[in-house]
Chain length 361, copies 2
């Protein structure tokens, strides 16, 4: 049963301007940092995080205890081109694994005490009803984009809207931070193709091993993306059309979720390669959205650095992770929480009676 | 009152061999990682951490929920050479701040639910009795090592033993991970001088701004270290003698604690620049100790990279931190905990009924 039938298939909402961070609270947080009992700047990027979250949350004392994680799953027609190290059945199998709590992101969500939801936008294999999984089936995966657009206009609009609704549910549930995850065999190929179109770079700059292709597999993946770009080259001039032709259900849902978070003023912690490509699409569609996106980690997928550079993003972690599901973002949450705790709870020089820096040094 | 008077002033225990990690449990953890529902290697360095902790803790399922943090404080005679951006009174003032819970490491320890102790080995200014602070006063700070050895042989032996006892208390309290922190105005100068002697590199390779020296201050610090190295050059041939002449009470305590952890088989998470120099001394004194040391972060203090390279260490974080106190190690603890949770709690392919990688890809 499709529970998302009443999704309105329009993309007009994407053009709403993003909310503005609170400049006054940013300044208050900067002043507070300068008064804490430590040499100025000694907490490094943890200081920047606390100040940025203060601006985004509109408070001198930010908090990310309440985290919402939404994992979007969908299959990809381009999997028929043999671009993944794993069979396509794994997408639906992993949706079941998410529902049973056995996947990495489930373990991380429990460790973080985060709220967690799974949205199935269209796996080839039917999972049947599963507790904790919202079924928003847009089709049995996308079309093979080496032959035709991955999505029709209604599928695209609905995938974006499904992401938007996840962001709005997160806000209604009191979330202070949003994490989007993805699962879909073939989705590094889709994300690479989409990023090639958005950045106008050749596929060898972005295509990598994904879940574990060898060098022959990567060469095949590059050739598949090259064919897809040639097939759609006359048509992917706008970011929205590039997303429709080369993206995927879960990538579009992430894009919609990120833009909606920027509209409603909910900070986002972006995961790895695929999520960053969705972030790139989001920023192209809604330039102000970039202010609401924090970047968690640099993926081992080699194309990630090119995408991060285009976003002027400097992730917090570089641990060689390349799992997706939102796992890298989840692993970085404790750094944000620690940044907030230090900012909020350290004593000031005045409170502690500690001498400040000498004027001559 | 000095509560550590019965410390035995001998260094013979340093030569006890380190415990050996459990190779069988390491292999069991490697096998478990290969069975979890993710592409092989997709959790990057989190997999390596879990496997290494399994070997160190002698269990297939490692755990670092119980963390002990010991902060060692002491003053430095070399502060008379105007090598710090902060006045020497700050060491004792920060000991009071630790006792009242207002310092960064206190906030982090609470966030981690870690046990926390402060050991005052000798501040110039008397703090009086403070709850949570063990008073092990070895003198009113070390001697100015541009003129004479920083410590006499009894002070050195007792500082090492005080660190050893902290490690043993941690083990008795059930700690699964040990973090040492330090506080002492002037201690980047002492640590730089000691590392220069141990690594035979010139002071300009290792001396940096510390708590916030400007370029003139750094030049002065380099000159001070150069004088100290010249003063002691005939005598710092052994690591122990280098530690005595150029180190500090808290640096020697960290060195003793690290070696004792290696003896009793308690994994250590090393903090930043000063802690890493203590780790270097520990490894020179007890080569097997290196196997018990994990490295948390790369400090903004520029000399840290040289010390890390000498230790063949690759820290987990690089956030521009340079606070000391053990703060960088504390910030990295959630990464270790997440590595353990993922390793212990993810489903295997067999448990989840997820297909494995295709043979051809």
């Amino acid at each position: 049963m499709n529970v998302c039938m009443n999704e309105i298939a329009t993309c007009e909402w994407l053009t709403i301007p993003a909310a503005l961070p609170n400049a006054g609270m940013r300044q208050a947080a900067v002043i507070r940092q300068s008064q804490l009992t430590k040499p100025a700047g000694a907490l490094g990027r943890l200081e920047d995080i606390a100040i940025r979250l203060a601006a985004l949350q509109g408070t001198e004392r930010p908090c990310v205890e309440r985290v919402h994680i939404a994992v979007f799953a969908g299959d990809h027609g381009v999997a028929a081109e043999n671009v993944s190290a794993f069979p396509q059945a794994v997408t639906a199998e992993m949706v079941k694994n998410f529902a049973r709590g056995g996947a990495a992101i489930c373990v991380a969500a429990r460790a973080l005490d985060a709220s967690f939801e799974i949205v199935n936008l269209g796996t080839v294999h039917d999972t049947g009803p599963l507790a904790g999984v919202t079924n928003c089936r847009l089709g049995p995966g996308t079309a093979n984009f080496t032959l035709e657009p991955a999505m029709d206009v209604y599928q695209l609009a609905r995938a974006l809207g499904i992401g938007r609704h996840a962001a709005e549910r997160a806000r209604l549930n009191g979330a202070q931070l949003f994490i989007g995850g993805e699962m879909g065999i073939g989705n590094t190929t889709a994300a690479s193709a989409l990023a090639c179109a958005l950045l106008d770079v050749p596929p060898e700059r972005l295509a990598g091993p994904g879940t574990g292709l060898d060098s022959h597999g990567v060469a095949r993946k590059i050739e598949v993306i090259r064919r897809a770009l040639a097939c759609h080259s006359m048509h992917h001039g706008t970011p929205l059309e590039a997303l429709r032709r080369l993206g995927g259900f879960e990538i579009a849902a992430l894009t919609g979720a990120y833009i909606a978070c920027a509209h409603i003023g909910l900070p986002v912690l972006v995961d790895g390669f695929i999520s960053s490509v969705a972030a790139l699409a989001a920023v192209r569609l809604c330039p102000g959205a970039g202010g609401w996106l924090l970047y968690s980690h640099t993926s081992a997928e080699p194309g990630h650095r090119t995408v991060l550079d285009a976003l002027d993003a400097r992730p917090l972690l570089d641990l060689g992770m390349r799992l997706g599901e939102g796992s890298g973002a989840a692993v970085a949450v404790p750094l944000l929480r620690m940044a907030c705790a230090l900012h909020n709870d350290m004593a000031t020089f005045a409170e502690a009676g500690v001498s400040e820096k000498s004027s001559q040094c």
